[in-house]
Symmetry: C3
Subunit: 351 residues, 3 copies
């Protein structure tokens, strides 16, 4: 067989390592497309002079562009037969990526647990993305529900990795060379710096963005993500969804772009502590977002930069003002919630 059907649950073994295919050079072309596809405006990705002024050699690629491309590499080996992408943890951005950099990705199976009905199982993988100089730029854990091909295949000994509930501030990496003392808020339009955010504060982002079939499929193809559910409307007709599903990583990208209004001075994502795609998103849905400030930390040896731990809630077809909480008292997500994304950003401090 020349074509591969992807791994099923019973094909995975703890410790198996995958070097994923199709290394990808990301360029100014991808940066422009990312802006067109998401409306992203964060200044380090938008302006080369601002990036130079803060100590970078060039504009950085948007962190979520880097993540989505690196994630896409892992799909053919890990999640071609996935039923659902269950979560992310311990994601750390280790070095900025710039136009011209080439990404490749590797993964290792670190956990397996068959579901109680024996038809599928949860696979935990730690993935790493590397640039052309073999420097690791991104690491993350995700777990995904994968179908069994043969329901009678024996269940593996369950092994579930212990994952941190969040990346502690001492593990965060401030990009080498970054000096934010000269940061000018004129470039972002907001004077709100790290010092002005308070734990418990909630920010309702004012924008809304309606998704259409062409834009989410263009984004997902840009990431070279090949999961069939996003592209093949005919095959999706016979599923419970009845139509193409928007790739969750694109939902994160759009919600994060919406979060610019109210979080203008975020320089970069340092870590993702956890993420849940609470409900599916389809073309025609209008996305909104709000952010809760979960924690704030100073960083050792830095008085120019601080870290904020944020919870980004993505909503569909309902504006933030009308949504008091993402979850019901029993923890169940409300039907309008599409994303619960817990991440940590770097932001300049008041000097």
């Amino acid at each position: 067989m020349k074509t591969r059907t992807g791994n099923f649950f019973e094909d995975f073994r703890i410790g198996t390592r995958y070097a994923h295919a199709t290394p990808r050079t990301l360029t100014d072309g991808d940066a422009a497309l990312y802006i067109a596809l998401t409306g992203a405006r964060h200044v380090l990705h938008s302006s080369r002079p601002v990036a130079h002024g803060l100590g970078y050699r060039d504009r950085t690629l948007d962190d979520m562009l880097v993540f989505n491309v690196a994630f896409g590499k892992t799909v053919p080996d890990i999640s071609l037969n996935a039923v659902a992408n269950l979560g992310y943890a311990e994601m750390l951005f280790l070095a900025p990526c710039h136009p011209g950099d080439t990404l490749r990705a590797k993964s290792e199976v670190i956990g397996l647990r068959e579901t109680s009905n024996g038809k599928a199982g949860v696979v935990y993988v730690r993935s790493n993305a590397f640039n052309q100089d073999n420097h690791r730029v991104l690491t993350w854990v995700r777990w995904v529900m994968v179908q069994k091909q043969d329901p009678s295949a024996p269940a593996p000994t369950p092994q579930v990795p212990e994952l941190k509930s969040f990346v502690p501030p001492e593990e965060l990496v401030v990009p080498a060379g970054l000096h934010a003392a000269k940061f000018e808020t004129e470039s972002t339009g907001s004077n709100a710096l790290w010092d002005h955010y308070e734990v418990g504060e909630r920010i309702d982002h004012p924008g809304g963005m309606t998704l259409d079939e062409s834009d989410h499929t263009l984004a997902t193809k840009l990431y070279q993500n090949t999961a069939r559910v996003h592209f093949d409307a005919l095959a999706m007709k016979d599923t419970t969804f009845g139509r193409r599903l928007v790739y969750g990583g694109h939902v994160i990208s759009v919600c994060r772009a919406l979060s610019y209004d109210g979080l203008e001075n975020v320089l970069s994502i340092a870590a993702v502590n956890g993420g849940t795609h609470a409900n599916p998103t389809f073309a025609g849905d209008t996305l909104y977002a709000y952010t809760e400030v979960r924690d704030k930390w100073t960083l050792p040896g830095r008085d120019d930069i601080g870290a904020l731990r944020l919870r980004l809630i993505g909503l569909k077809n309902q504006a933030p003002a009308t949504v008091v909480a993402a979850q019901e008292p029993d923890g169940k997500y409300r039907p309008e919630v599409v994303l619960d994304f817990d991440y940590t950003v770097l932001m300049p401090r008041k000097i």
Copy 2:
């Protein structure tokens, strides 16, 4: 409040200056996207060797790409609460932009006039766009109807700037280094040069282009224009339009791209004398265009280049052949007219 709701009419004062946020590095990626989004074919933006041959250091970015990005910068401060973008005047292209250049924009309020019903007012601003070397590349005046937040806020003393009905030829800037003596019409496919156009002549452009939701929203996001009316279909449901509105600058871009057939040898836009978005455009509309030659001028000290003043009429869902005039005898625009754009271009002369 971390999120900003934009300025309302009563917030504007004559003389207030805004340094707009989010400087934007434009690259080959934006140039490629602009071609994909509009079908643009003007040769200075399409071919680096042709640009070199005429004295430029690289391909130029399409003038309307530059304008749309610079315009987008002004939206959060000027027109987030706009009811309608009423007009443009005195727009001058002062220096070409190339891939790699970074644009930022500033504006100053130069006029204010409350409407008679006291619910809104017209704000006149002069905006300027600068590149990374702090050279001014573009200047323009626009006026926009902005809502009042508090209807009881007192009306300012009306002050309306005197605006030129067109940019006189002696103010036009021919890019430094441009020498068109060696221009080869083989690169454009048309032998019609400045000398062959006659004042009063009308050119019906043969193409038509149907807009879809994804392409107009991709364009508007590329320009980092954040006006909600273009993106949020849910919020637009409750407006008189009932759906997302196509950004007027994209309508200009598409109509100008259609105008290539019949105006192949236009090198660049030197000025925009005036512009009106006569009727709204929506996804599903098919755009057509025709051009009237309003005037033609030689330029001092140049026998290689002349200027043409053109009136570009954009139509929706009706081909130019069936449209005798854009306006009714009383000046009212016909319902199929979406754009009345008065601009001045540079074109090589017969040597």
Copy 3:
């Protein structure tokens, strides 16, 4: 008349040469868009380090991006009044193209044959594309049915060129500098090399891709192809199709991208032996593809590279597994077949 209506059948003469307009610089921006529009993953176009490792100076532009842009240049002179694009032959890729290269195209009429009803005729042209250094990078023959403007215009003496049924292996050009001995299959995810493919083998590609209006029109505008049938939904309403037609070259691009799964180690297209757009494709159609291996050849003096002659069948709205043959016994294409594309690729050999 400033606008041109294109050539009609009676305007063509054997031996007439056209230097087509609008040379086009292709960049990283076009490469990124091509990936977003098609989902292309072939490694020489995706990764600069892999391209360097095989002896190229940079990533190559996808062969079909090069073809579609070169083809687009020929439309205004050759096929603006085409009824149907009938076929391709003797297409040879002579040198790789890289981001930054500028393409222009020339054509010569090499055959004419009026149809029996006298209302149209078939025009055969040989076209060549050149880069900025005036090196020929691509040559091909196509024939196209073109309307007559004046049905009473006399028929030309029929002259039909003799065309090879396929490009013989001794004419294939292996790019200078290409050394595949160090090729690493890790970069593509498949161990199947030239040696593993057998003549007669069929590969059903697992992916499916639904087309939408925005993505096929974006692609066709990117190629600066101006054929009205792809863009003007209003004009198309009155045709037998009733709506916009997807450009055939985009169908080739999408089907070829789908063919990655099962042909991962294809380095480049060396030749196109023939091609037929068997049925029209519209937005909403889901494309699938399968490949038959028609022949395989070693190449003189090369033990690192071999050639495979492939037949790529593009299907709409029907998965390959259910399609036994593209044609009925009488040679007629089945209604679900949109593409029959006979081409020759280069693939590394087992060392």
